[in-house]
Symmetry: C3
Subunit: 380 residues, 3 copies
């Protein structure tokens, strides 16, 4: 079964292993076409809508460059960021921005319990619109980060790991530490760590999730990761010390996120329009964070990893101590050592998104790319 | 005479019946090309400037998708919204954004007596720029809503009616009610009702314009509609009760707009920079609106229409009672019944705009589209 | 040596005469292709990033239309305007917006000592990214105005002069007056006058730089202009009276700029985050400007020029007395006489930028354009 063609890409956990491997394969192919100056354009006109309900430079660029690669033009929808829309507003807007749209990319990561739900509501509206003859085709939705998952990030991360260690097979038995880290900023989404544990657990890796008390992830997603590990020959454990967690790690991903309870309260306060409550919550949360400044990934902790040089990962921008902030997620020394690697990690994202677009629109996307290689149209 | 080729599209009342029918025909053809996955791209590079002096999601999308369909790239001009520009500022800006521009779409609907005037001023500046050798070609202007008319909306509405009732011929003798409706929001332009009465009166329809005392439209446009009705075998009447107006109607278009006097005062206050006066005017206007909450189109009123199921129309977004506001233009029940129809109505707009672009740029636009059918270039 | 191919275009003073002439030649060729309805598209997909750290309508349009002409899509980077970024932030962002980027256009003209430096920092980050395999190719940077130079403006101005007087050769011995002029607005960059004196002095023109005491330009750039004049058979002088300066001038370029000391202080205050200090400085600066209201270019001053009709130039928008402000850089009468000429002057900019893009990406850009003439692909 092809679970990519004409299917939204909302959660990696909904996709088969075959589907995920297809995305990785397509992304690599697209990257090699770029290196050979071959244009992979498959659209002669067409629109990719971007709906960002949170600020973004990197993902915005990745989405725009993926669209451009395939011949689509990006059109941005200006959405009010602090408003949770439902019902007729969503149904109507979804149709109004889809009359000639091929792909819709949505980032909605600020409010727990809302982002992924919103994407599904948009999807249902599009289904109806297409069935009722409002839309000439059903635009595909790509999750550009929600409250539950960040699939374009986690798949770019997986592709980076595949390239770094040589193959997906080589990832089996590797220890990856997904660790909370201190940050002076507030309200970072849980989607990156959740995306990492849910995805990497499917490739036989040994997952260690580390965070201070109170910073747990959505329990249901942790259960998915545990089950994946069992089914794929890996292990899954949780610890509450970064130093303990990183021992003998092959990969360390230190990244801040907000406490689950704070994220829940925030959604409630927002729904109630309680501005004062939101301000107070921010102060409480920052004070809570500040108790865990020792959750910085530094040279000492790195020395505890396998051969002292576990691959450091980050989705960027990182809070680098003494560089982008006084005290942060990672020491300047450690970051600098892996800086270029983090850039490479980020560089896979445009291709991952383009692969998702391609797989959504073509039943046999791999053979479409073969034809593109044969066509051999120079991009420049 | 071809009054589309190299002519701005500013008011439907300036265009011949033949011109309007050409736009409808081209729009339908473009829509059918989309359904057949044929690319109608006629530009290899080119720019469509959009100048929005008022917020817009739907028209912005329609303009962007029309441009994309034909191979043009949209470039937005950031204009200060609260400023009425004249003279050298307009002349200069018009030229500065036109060196490589094919089409300029302008929305300027906020200030009575200003929007259409502004478009003509831009047009004159472009004429001069082209004659003086500043511009290699004369960009065509498309009115995306002004203080007098909203031609891309009214023509999309007409195309919807043609498709719904089977032909333009079938519209003869149909009763259409353009009715004011209550809205809790302030300062909605008069251009939609004005556009509807000025256009539909040309196709032999029986127009009933309904509004509470004080909500009349620009008298000159009402005169145009009356004359059209006389010349085309229809009738035109005005009433001051929604319930009376909708009796035996084939089509009901309930839509809020601001009182004419308020719109006039607003323009004056704005020119004088009287912020306090503008705030006071808003309060007065909302209070005035609130006296007419019974101007809601509901199931009871619908039951009075022909067979109790007149086609409900709206340019969207509608103020739906209990859905998007407490009390509004239409009851949830009635809106839901015709919801998909309103989406279809909106769906014609991108094709209407693309048809206007095409007809502005090609002397024989219909034969250009025939060649495109023959070319048979797959879009995807 | 080809100092355009794969080289950033940051300052005209870094480029050879041959390079500058190539840009002018390419720009003219591109303009004539447009007039013949031939598409010069050389990219099949590709991105041009625009980074505007200051507001812009004209240059933004010019960059967008240049990109479109060649087949590139513009993607804007939203940058915080009031922040001077350095180090890792710049390195990272430069790479994140470059994975699939061909050209980066940057405007950063607000802070003395910062704009050009920032562009070079971006360039170094791109060099590293390309060398380290992060980027598949090295995007070229085009300076869209910095604290030192405004090369797309000065080269468009030069092309205008070449066309107006018939040839570059004809410019030899012509007297051009680059004069400060009064403006009621604050903090205009020094890059236009600096760009003009540094460039025009290379073509044997007699440069007269005029400004009231305190409005000198960056000394180092004045030295460059002086040396150019000596090496190219022209003269260079400075005066402190507009009336004296314009005598027997062939060309007069009256344009306001901020005092050098104010621009220096402003950068320091900004670095210190001293908002109060910045406000005070603005007041001081406006008061200082107001002492020189007689620095308006009017009919009387124009009568002193060669035959009383020296070519008036301006980069637009000009502060026109009685039109765009009470008292400004130029009288309405003089401006009106040369208004169309200023529009033509501005009209070269899109082609200059496109020429820079082309020359950056193709080793033999002139022969690429010849092939395009042979290809003869209609744009419309």
């Amino acid at each position: 079964m092809n679970d990519l063609y004409q299917k939204d890409f909302l959660l990696t956990s909904e996709k088969s292993d075959k589907a995920l491997k297809t995305i990785l394969e397509l992304a690599l192919l697209l990257k090699s076409l770029r290196d050979q100056n071959i244009s992979p354009r498959v659209f002669d006109t067409g629109l990719a809508m971007s709906v960002f309900r949170d600020k973004s430079t990197r993902t915005r660029y990745s989405f725009a460059s993926a669209a451009n690669m395939l011949g689509l033009t990006v059109q941005d929808l200006d959405e009010q960021k602090s408003q949770i829309a439902h019902g007729e507003t969503v149904r109507e807007t979804a149709n109004m921005i889809s009359f000639l749209t091929d792909i819709i990319g949505i980032r909605d990561d600020m409010f727990l319990g809302e982002g992924n739900k919103y994407m599904r509501e948009v999807g249902e509206a599009l289904d109806e619109g297409y069935q009722q003859g409002v839309l000439p085709s059903r635009p595909g939705i790509i999750n550009l980060q929600c409250d539950r998952d960040h699939p374009t990030q986690s798949l770019a991360d997986l592709l980076h790991l595949e390239q770094y260690f040589g193959s997906l097979e080589a990832l089996k038995g590797k220890k990856i530490v997904m660790s909370w880290a201190y940050s002076p900023s507030y309200g970072k989404p849980l989607s990156v760590p959740q995306g990492i544990i849910a995805l990497m657990s499917r490739f036989g890796m040994n997952i260690e999730l580390a965070y201070p008390d109170g910073y747990e992830l959505i329990p249901e997603i942790v259960e998915i990761a545990k089950a994946n590990s069992e089914n794929n020959g890996g292990t899954f454990s949780i610890s509450h010390s970064m130093s303990d967690a990183v021992k003998e790690a092959d990969i360390v991903y230190p990244k801040s996120w907000a406490p689950l309870q704070v994220m829940k309260q925030r959604t409630e306060l927002l729904k109630a329009g309680d501005t004062k409550g939101l301000d107070d919550l921010e102060k409480t949360c920052l004070a809570q964070n500040a108790k865990h400044k020792n959750w910085e990934y530094d040279a000492r902790k790195m020395s505890l990893t396998k051969n002292g040089d576990a691959l450091y990962m980050h989705c960027l921008p990182a809070d680098i101590s003494g560089v982008s902030c006084e005290a942060g997620e990672v020491s300047a020394e450690v970051f600098e050592k892996y800086r270029i690697q983090t850039y490479k990690q980020a560089g896979y994202k445009p291709y991952i998104i383009a692969a998702m677009m391609l797989a959504n629109k073509f039943r046999d996307s791999v053979s479409v790319l073969s034809k593109i290689v044969d066509r051999n149209l120079p991009r420049l």
